[in-house]
Symmetry: C2
Subunit: 154 residues, 2 copies
């Protein structure tokens, strides 16, 4: 089964993966905010309009979590991925409002074998997510640990 | 009411806010992962043990979202906060495992009035979250926009 999965070697610099589309609903925004970020502009339409966000807006952490799911569905769930040590860059460029639809892409910037973990490599990505009006809402860069194919790492 | 809230002026460099404690349950880890990060090590104890994380481990995005809630409960919900443009730094230093309890602190690094938005300032924080064994699990830096007191911004 692993043989059919994407391994470190498949993530060559320049390779691009499509993210989304992912529609964002009022209910999802309020549900996430209620649990993790209960600030008024993420819970209530009127409070959102009164804020600098201009409407009921997803928490930035919610947008980031939806983006994670878009990466999972696009390539991580079919890859020999072992997680990420963090985020190098995360910019919430524009508010994500109820009714928006998100889409984007992940591009491999660089990849290298890990010295500390034989048989594994680290792949650095740049990610861009935009709304249905073509406006960038999220820009991110991070690195993911991926296992090599057994014949390569042996 | 606003007069009693924390404003930009209250976030002087060096001021420190306590985060947590926040216990992390198996159910929460699986619920978040099912929606946003359905990789096996975040969904299943055996898969977690077989991974480099060493057990059923929260998605990094879940840890970050729990950290957001800790900030909200500590100081953001009682402040004139207007959101954040992104994250400058986010390191997931150690896995967060089911049964862990998270706590930490946010420290103001610097604060300055925003040129582009009169009556608002931007406050940069450094955040550290550790587990019940005193191991750092999350280190982050970000900047939050906060309104000034009316008499100050007039």
């Amino acid at each position: 089964m692993s043989a059919e999965k994407l391994s470190f070697e498949d993530f060559r610099p320049g390779r691009r993966f499509v993210l989304g589309p992912k529609p964002v609903t009022t209910e999802e925004i309020i549900e996430f905010a209620s649990e993790f970020d209960p600030q008024p502009m993420h819970l209530d339409e009127a409070a959102g309009r009164a804020s600098i966000l201009g409407g009921l807006a997803a928490s930035g952490w919610h947008t980031s979590s939806m983006f994670m799911r878009m990466m999972a569905d696009s390539y991580l769930l079919t890859a020999l991925a072992e997680g990420a040590p963090g985020i190098d860059l995360m910019e919430w460029r524009k508010p994500v409002l109820a009714g928006d639809t998100l889409s984007g892409h992940s591009t491999v910037l660089e990849s290298r074998p890990m010295r500390s973990r034989p048989g594994m490599g680290i792949v650095k990505f740049r990610h861009e997510v935009e709304n249905q009006r073509g406006q960038l809402v999220l820009v991110s860069e991070n690195s993911v640990m991926l296992r090599m194919r057994p014949e390569t790492s042996a």
